[in-house]
C-alpha cells in the first residue's frame, strides 16, 4: 500500500513541476509587459505541494514568486489593488524572502512586510507563522 502511494506521488511530481514552470514563464512574460500586479496575482495563486519529499517543488515555485516580488517598485500601490485573501500568502512569501539572507531580496521583502503589516495587521503575521499545514 505504501509502495503504490509512493509511485503515484512520483507521477504527479512531473505534472506539478510542469505547472510550476508554466507559472514561472507566465510571471516572466507579465513582468516584461510591466503588468506587475497581474504577475503578483499569478504568483500568489495556489500553494505548492506540501509533501515532505517535494521540497524541491517548493523551491521551484519560490523562484517564480521571487521574480514577481522583486519586480514590484510601488509596493503600496500593489497592495491597494491586491485582494485581501492573498495577504496571508504574501506574508508567508515575504518571510521566506527574509530568510534567504540575500541583501536585495531582504530589502524588498522588508518593504513588503512593513506595508503589508500596516494593511493587514498583526493577525496576518500570526497566521503566516502558525500555519504549518500550508507552507511555502
Amino acid at each position: 500500500m505504501a509502495e503504490a502511494k509512493k509511485s503515484m506521488g512520483f507521477d504527479n511530481v512531473e505534472d506539478i513541476l510542469t505547472k510550476i514552470e508554466n507559472k514561472s514563464l507566465k510571471i516572466e512574460s507579465l513582468i516584461k509587459q510591466y503588468k506587475f500586479i497581474e504577475a503578483i496575482k499569478t504568483a500568489l495563486e495556489g500553494y505548492p505541494p506540501q509533501d515532505e519529499r517535494c521540497k524541491h517543488l517548493q523551491s521551484a515555485n519560490w523562484i517564480g514568486v521571487h521574480k514577481a516580488l522583486m519586480a514590484i517598485k510601488d509596493v503600496e500601490g500593489m497592495l491597494r489593488s491586491l485582494d485581501p485573501q492573498y495577504y496571508d500568502i504574501l506574508m508567508k512569501y515575504a518571510y521566506r524572502g527574509l530568510s534567504s539572507g540575500n541583501r536585495t531580496t531582504c530589502d524588498q521583502c522588508l518593504k513588503i512586510h512593513e506595508k503589508l503589516t500596516e494593511k493587514a495587521g498583526f493577525g496576518c503575521i500570526l497566521r503566516s507563522l502558525v500555519d504549518t499545514v500550508n507552507t511555502v
Binding site: L110, E118, A120, G121, F122, G123, L126, V130, D131
Partner: protein
C-alpha cells in the same frame, strides 16, 4: 465609554467569577489562593481568602443558583467550596489527574462540573448523595493535547472542549442517575457518556475559549492564529465560518446575545463580533477607546518601537527619535485579557460583562450606551 468600572485588585489575575447577586467577586491573584472581595460602600474589601491549593489556581466558577464555588489548580486537585455560615468549607474532589487542571465550568443545572486538564482528559464530576462526595468520570481518549477550555450546552448534557491540538470537540456527558433522558427531542440520540458528537478541525494552531450561544445553536471558539470560528448545526455536517482579523489573537469569548460575541485577548481591548441578518459573522469594532494607528513606525501599538527599528535598518538614516512610547494609549487593560464573564442583572435589559487580565485589573463593561450595537442585542 463602554467600561463603567475599573478595579486594580492584584498584580496579575488568572481567572475570576462573580457571586449570584454580583456583590462579590472571586479571583486568583496568580498564586495558590482564591481571594473573594465584596463591594461595601463603593469600596472593595477582601472578605475571604480560600487557601487549600498548593499551586496556582487556574480556574474558578461560581454557581448561580446553588452558590457554590469550584476551583481547580495546577496541583491537579479541585475543591468545591460550600458556604456554611461565615466560612467557606472546602470539599476535595479527586480527579485522578497526573497533570495540571486548566479550566472548570459548572453545568447549567449545577449538578455537574467539567474540568479540562493538561493530561489530555476532561473530568466530569457529579455529586453522589449516598456517599456525600463528588465522583469524577473521565473522558480519556479523544484529545491529543491539553484541554484549554470547556463549555456546557444549555441542555446540560453536551460539552464542548478546545485543546492545544487545534481542535474543538463536542461530547455527550450523559450520566445515568444524574441526567434525565429527554424523550425524542432529536438533538442527541447518543447519550452515552464520553461519546464524541463532532470534532471540528478548523484551526492549525492552539484553540481556546469555546462558548455556546444562549440557545445552544451556535458554537464559537478562537485559534491562536488570530481567527475566530463560528459553527452552526453541530452534528454530522456542521456549518463553520472562519473569521480572520487583523489583530493579536484572542484568549476567551462571550456570547452577549445570539448575534453578538465579545472576544478578549492579547490586544487588551474587547473586540465585538456580530452576525448580520443572513447569519454572516464579522468583526465590528473594538469596545474600548483605541488610538487610531498612524502609518509607519508611528502607529500607536505596543510593537511600534520594535518594528520601527526593524524597518529603519533598510532605510539607512531614518531617525527613530519620532517613535512614540510603546505604552498603549487609551486602552483600559494594560496587559492581556484572559477571562471574560457575563454580568447580567436579572430582569434588566442592559448587557454587562466583566474582564480580568494579566494586569491584575477587573473591568466592568456596559453595552447599554453603545448605540451602534443595539441592533445585535
Amino acid at each position: 465609554m463602554a467600561a463603567v468600572a475599573v478595579h486594580q485588585f492584584a498584580q496579575c489575575i488568572t481567572c475570576h467569577a462573580w457571586s449570584p447577586d454580583h456583590s462579590m467577586v472571586a479571583f486568583c491573584p496568580n498564586n495558590n489562593e482564591v481571594h473573594i472581595y465584596k463591594l461595601v460602600n463603593d469600596k472593595w474589601e477582601k472578605v475571604h481568602v480560600l487557601q487549600k491549593h498548593d499551586q496556582i489556581v487556574s480556574g474558578i466558577d461560581w454557581s448561580g443558583k446553588s452558590n457554590r464555588i469550584v476551583s481547580v489548580s495546577h496541583d491537579r486537585n479541585s475543591y468545591v467550596w460550600n458556604r456554611e455560615g461565615p466560612e467557606w468549607v472546602p470539599t476535595l474532589v479527586i480527579l485522578r489527574l497526573n497533570r495540571a487542571a486548566l479550566c472548570v465550568r459548572w453545568s447549567p443545572k449545577e449538578n455537574k462540573f467539567a474540568v479540562g486538564s493538561g493530561a489530555k482528559t476532561v473530568c466530569v464530576c457529579y455529586y453522589e448523595q449516598e456517599n456525600n462526595w463528588w465522583v469524577s468520570k473521565v473522558i480519556r481518549k479523544k484529545h491529543d493535547s491539553s484541554v484549554t477550555s470547556v463549555a456546557w450546552h444549555p441542555n446540560n448534557i453536551l460539552l464542548a472542549t478546545t485543546s492545544t491540538d487545534g481542535k474543538c470537540r463536542v461530547f455527550s456527558t450523559f450520566i445515568k442517575g444524574v441526567d434525565t433522558r429527554e424523550s425524542k427531542t432529536g438533538s442527541s440520540s447518543d447519550p452515552k457518556f464520553g461519546e464524541q458528537i463532532v470534532q471540528l478541525d478548523l484551526s492549525s494552531s492552539w484553540a481556546f475559549g469555546v462558548k455556546w450561544s444562549p440557545s445552544g445553536n451556535t458554537l464559537a471558539y478562537v485559534g491562536h492564529n488570530s481567527m475566530i470560528y463560528f459553527v452552526d448545526d453541530i452534528g454530522p455536517s456542521p456549518l463553520a465560518q472562519n473569521v480572520a482579523f487583523r489583530n493579536l489573537p484572542l484568549r476567551d469569548v462571550l456570547f452577549v446575545s445570539e448575534k453578538m460575541v465579545i472576544g478578549v485577548g492579547f490586544d487588551c481591548n474587547p473586540m465585538v463580533f456580530a452576525a448580520d441578518k443572513s447569519g454572516l459573522w464579522s468583526f465590528i469594532r473594538f469596545l474600548g477607546e483605541r488610538k487610531e494607528s498612524l502609518s509607519g513606525p508611528k502607529s500607536g501599538s505596543q510593537f511600534s518601537e520594535a518594528f520601527g527599528k526593524l524597518y529603519a535598518q533598510a532605510k539607512h538614516g531614518l531617525s527613530n527619535d519620532t517613535v512614540e512610547p510603546s505604552k498603549i494609549q487609551g486602552a483600559v487593560h494594560d496587559n492581556c485579557i484572559n477571562c471574560i464573564a457575563l454580568l447580567n442583572k436579572k430582569g434588566s435589559q442592559t448587557k454587562r460583562f466583566s474582564t480580568s487580565g494579566m494586569d491584575g485589573k477587573v473591568v466592568i463593561w456596559d453595552l447599554g450606551n453603545q448605540q451602534d450595537l443595539k441592533e445585535y442585542l
